[in-house]
Structures are given as structure tokens and as C-alpha cells.
Amino acid sequence: MNMNGGQALMKALENEGVDILFGLPGGAILPVYDPLIDSSIRHVLVRHEQGAGHMAEGYAHATGRPGVAMVTSGPAATNIVTPLCDAYMDSIPMVVVTGQVPYAAIGTDAFQECDTTGITMSVTKHNYLVTEAADIPQVIHDAFYIATTGRPGPVLVDIPKDIVDPNNPRSAMEWYTPDSHDLPGYLPNQAGDAELIRQAAKLICEAERPVLYTGGGILKSRGAEALLELAEMTGIHVVTTLMNRGGFPDDHPLCLGMPGMHGNYTAVTAMQEADLLIALGARFDDRVTGKVGEFAPLAKIIHVDIDSAELGKVRRPDVAIQGDCRVVIEELVKALKEMGGSEAQPDRNQWRSRISGWQERFPLTYEQSKGDELLKPQYVLEQLRDSTPSDTIVASGVGQHQMWTSQYWKFNHPYTWVNSGGLGTMGFAIPAAIGAKAGRPDRMVWAVDGDGCFQMTAQELVTAATEGFPIKVALINNAYLGMVRQWQEMFYEERYSEVYLTRDVPDYKMWAEALGCVGLRVESPEEVGPAIAQANEIDDQPVVVEFRCEAEENVFPMVPAGMSNSDVVVDPSQRDQPR
């Protein structure tokens, strides 16, 4: 079939099962926006290209399918660099199509030209500059394959205007449906080595104080069920990193919650005291390990990861297994069953009672607000958690509010937590929530956002309002870049430098209304519940609820950067407790 490159691009995207595209047109990508009109793919017109990228990420987080964004050249391509880097750090499958100046003009400083593939080389899993219209079907097919297999990640496809412009003879091509990939350097491997899996099983059967240290790889591999089986069969406790909240149910008796800098005391301490860490799809991030040399000093390490470059990167494992988390866990369960299943596990009663002792002495805690004090953000999050369906999808920004959300929410279902972990991108919440809602219109979607973050990407609420994505935003207005304020309070002798945002400017309620949303403002504890109930009722418009919160509240526990996890600082009210 004869067609032009632009038509081929749309057809190739349709063939990959793309149902929604987040984007914004411009000169170089214009020819592709014409066949878009006749395509089955829905396009969501964003208000800033960063929004398109985070929406694609949110969609991928919530559905497991690759998110797709399409933007023009130059400034649009640079606007989407942050989401690419974000997706790269958090292994989010995403395909971004960028327009480029005509092939012959590349390198001439043409209008809106930038070296998109050069700029994005180190923040994508792979990228392409397509030079011939005839390459489009194959490149798109390969791009989706690379984005979604192995360790997932973003792939960028840069398309010069002439090969998609029907008025240019260089766009003429004959359609073909690619049926294979010619990628001799890319052969992702799923299965783990059987002998190593047996060794791992043996270590597990010998361990007296084992902990399952589970990361984003559990969710990426759709391995939550396998993990549940492994944990229940062995009776081993589970910590879920920021990237694996929801990958193991928080209300499960074996769940210790989040480890790391702002993790639960028990999760942090159990890892420190463990004699075996079974790291599954986790990468020993510095926010988890604290001072690496003093991290889990007594523990042997089993490390399972699809990406062999993670094995031994931070901590040398005793058993390193390259493979897909779900596949390896399933094999591990089989190997453990052959060794006697739960019968073969040693008596760990003493370890269990140490864990429950920590849980009793060091639960998450905060002091309720008194008199005419403003709201405690933790209280707001508890109320929100308790008045929304348990499968609500929660997206968050970056800062204190993110840590409180991860701490106080009860994640009992996989794919209900959408956040920016590795890059820590302020402004992620609103566009990511829109993407999640686009992927899961059946679910209630709340974004928990900080006042600082909100001001970075609030314009996408216009997208939500006009394109019909009734997300809800819980805006934690603490008048500060709170996380930075906390560091200045604790580590810079309360010398506050450029962290005060002001309490009343902007007027968030009015701003929300101007953006096409319902705007609510809550100042006292009694108003919290009713406002959430009111927001939950609204299903035809986005809602922003501004919660006016205490400015001085800090996130605890906290392991100060560079310190050992053994020096975790607990809430002031718990500081006299014996450790």
C-alpha cells in the first residue's frame, strides 16, 4: 500500500496498540497531526510538553502499557527531556515521538532545530533519528519492543519533517508490517540461572533474620502475586521501596512498609539487623541504603534484577541472579518447595518478636494540631486514605507531602501508586494523575501535591478540565518548599534561604476555578472529611482541595543524608524509647 511517512507513523502506532497520545503540535510535526485526524488514536492536547511526558508516564504506571507522547522539534523536544529522564530513572516504558527539521536542514541551525537525539542520548534507553520514510514502520516496532522488554524505559524517535510531509517526495513509501526485530545487540533474558536459584533457596532456608527487600522490578514484572506466595510460604517479612508501594499489601502482617531515608523505623532497622537481604528488583539506591559502608552490615545478599548492570553496582551480592523478577521468584518458590517449603524454614520466632517490638515502640506518629493551629498534613492524608476506595490511584509530587503519602497511605493493590522516585521531579503529580486517569478511567485518581510542585505544572489542570479527566488534587499548602525547609532547619541551623513561598499568593481556590476545576479550601480538622466527601462526589470536573497545613511539620523518621541507617532519627515523641 502506498502512503506517506506521516500516515505510516500513525498506522505503526495503531498497530502497536496505542489508544491515546499526549502531545502538542508545532511546525516540524505538523504533517503528522493531519493523518491523526483520521486515526483511531485519541489525542490529548496538553498545555506544556513536560505535561505530555509525565502523562505518558502516569498512563504507563497505572496500566503497565507504554505511554506515548508526541511533540514538535526544538523547544518542545527540550521541554520533554525532564519526563524522559524521569522515566529512565524509574524504568517506565514510554515512547516519545519528536518532530525534527527536514533532513537536509539538520546541522544548519535551522529554525527550531536542536540535536534532540544528542541531548536525550543519556536519558533514554535508546533513541532513533529516522532518515527515510521507509524506516518508520520498523523503527516504531523496534521502539515499542525496546521500551517494554528487559528493563523497561523511554525510547525517543526523532522524525525529520520531510519524510512525513505529503508534499515532499521523500515521504513516499510502501507500507509493510514488520514481523521481527533486527537488533543483534539487544537480547533481553527473562529466566534466571537454575543453579543460582537453588543457591538462593539454600541461603533462604539457612537465614535466621531474612528480609525481602522489594523494589520497582516487582511491579514492572507483574510479580506481586509471586511475591505474595514467596513471602507467605517462607514467612519472611517484606519491605516495599518507594517504587514498590502496592507491590505487597500494606495491611499484610508480613509487610513492614517503606525503608530508607523516610522509611518506617521497623523497615529500616529490620534491614540493618538482617542476616539475609533478598533484593528483588531493587537497586540499593542511596536513599534506601544510607551510608553504603554501614548498610545492613551483617547481611548476605541475594540480588535479583533483569538488568545485570545493577548486580554488584552498589553492594557485592553473595548470589546474583540476572532475570525477570516474576520468573525468578516463581522458580525460587519451586526450588524452596522442593527443599520442603515452609517446613524447611528455620524457627524465626525470636526475629519475629524483635520486629513486633520495634513496630510497637516506633509506629509512625505525629502530634495532632491544637486550638487554632493549622492542619497537620499527616491528618489530612489519613482522612483522605480512609474516605476513598481502596483501589484509588494516588499520584504525588516531590517533597514532604510525597513522603507522608507514601508513609500514611495503605497501598493494598499494585499499580495504585504513581510517583517520581529516582529523579524526584517536582510537578510530576498533576500530569501523571491525568495520565493514570486516562489509562484507568474506572478508578478514582487523587493527586497529592505540594504548593511548590503545584505551581510547576498546574496548567495541566486545564487539560484535565477540557479533555474530561476528572482527577482530584489534594494540595498540601504548607507555604514552603517544605522538604528543603526541613533540611535547612535540621542541617543548616535554621538559616532559611529561599524556601518561603507565601501562604496566600496565589489564591489556590480562585486559580483552580480559573483552570476549569472546582476549588475548595479547608482550614480546620472538622472541614477535612466533608471536603473530601464533596470532592469524591464530583465526577464531571477536576477538583482541587487546598488544605492549609502547618508550615513547621517535619517528616520523621529520617536518616540524614550520608549517615548510617542505624542512626535513624525518630519522631521527637519517641526519642526516649529504648531502641
Binding site: 542520548m121 533519528l129 525496546i146 543483534p184 545487540g185 538488568d307 545485570s308 548492570a309
Partner: protein, 174 residues
């Protein structure tokens, strides 16, 4: 870290897809860590889909381990061999123009003979010669020519292949 402050050097032979931009991807992985590439040779292979890069980095094998793994992750990188100098045969080509007034030309030709180098071109007071050999032999030759006055020198950077097995297979082995 560089070879000068105590580290060794590592030689990598990297087979890559013969496509635009691949060299930049490979070089970028070294650059972002501040690892300097000491020499680099790129050439097509017998299979036209691939090229071979021989990269010498002034970094020990240990810090290189992570880079090698990440190099391997590049979609266009097909395979990587790390070559230990003692277990490989290394060659480099040097072309050099040396000042050579007619009265001292004979001394230079002596060196050319001793090293089995080749005279490529002769001028009134200069001579151009080439030498192929192990990098250290090429270093020696260059050092010996230096006092005469090197006008111009070009070295290709080394290429290498693993040494071959010496022992014949045991005829009784199954």
C-alpha cells in the same frame, strides 16, 4: 582516575552495529564518568553490519566493570571483549616524519633497519617512515627518533586479538 595516578589501563574490543551515532553513545558512557579514552581504533568487520572498536582506557579493570556492563546495555553494542595485555597480541601503526639532513640520514636508516620499519617518503632534509609493532616497540622507536627532531607523527591506536591456544588437544580426550 588516570593511568598516571596508579591505575592500569584496560583494553576493550567492542563489536557494534555499523550505524550513525553509535560511537557517540559509546564515548558518552566514558565521558560522563570523566574516564579519558587513551586510544581508539574503529574499523569495519568482515560482516558489513558491524564495526569493531578497540578502546584503551586509562582506568583499572575494577572501576571499568560497571562501564562494561552499561556498555553492554547499549542497544547497538553486540558484544564486548576485555583484553588482558598478557593474553593478547597487540599491534599499532605509526607514521612519522623526522628531520634528516643528508649527513645524518644514514643514522636514521640504521634505526629503520634495526626496527624493520619502512621508508615511505624522502625529502631534502626530512624522511617519512612507518612502523607496525606492539605499542611498546612503537614507543621505543619513537623515543629513539625524537632526538633527531620529529616533524610530524601519527599513531593509529592499538588493535588487539586474543592469543591463540598453544597446546595441541589431547588425542585421548573424549
Amino acid at each position: 582516575m588516570s593511568a598516571a595516578d596508579g591505575g592500569g589501563t584496560t583494553t576493550l574490543v567492542v563489536r557494534v552495529e555499523n550505524k550513525a551515532g553509535v560511537l557517540a553513545r559509546v564515548a558518552g558512557l566514558f565521558a560522563r564518568r570523566g574516564f579519558n579514552i587513551e586510544s581508539l581504533a574503529v574499523a569495519p568487520t568482515d560482516d558489513e553490519r558491524f564495526s569493531r572498536l578497540t578502546i584503551v582506557v586509562g582506568v583499572d579493570a575494577a572501576p571499568m566493570e560497571q562501564v562494561v556492563k552499561q556498555l553492554d546495555k547499549l542497544v547497538n553494542v553486540v558484544d564486548i571483549r576485555e583484553l588482558n595485555p598478557s593474553a593478547s597480541v597487540e599491534r599499532e601503526l605509526m607514521m612519522v616524519t623526522v628531520r634528516a639532513n643528508p649527513d645524518i640520514r644514514g643514522q636514521i636508516l640504521d634505526l629503520v633497519r634495526i626496527f624493520q620499519a619502512t621508508v615511505l617518503n624522502v625529502g631534502y632534509d626530512e624522511i617519512m617512515v612507518s612502523l607496525t609493532g606492539s605499542p611498546s616497540r612503537v614507543d621505543d622507536f619513537e623515543d629513539l627518533l625524537r632526538p633527531y627532531g620529529i616533524v610530524d607523527v601519527q599513531r593509529t591506536g592499538k588493535v588487539a586479538l586474543p592469543k591463540l591456544v598453544k597446546a595441541a588437544p589431547d588425542p585421548l580426550a573424549p
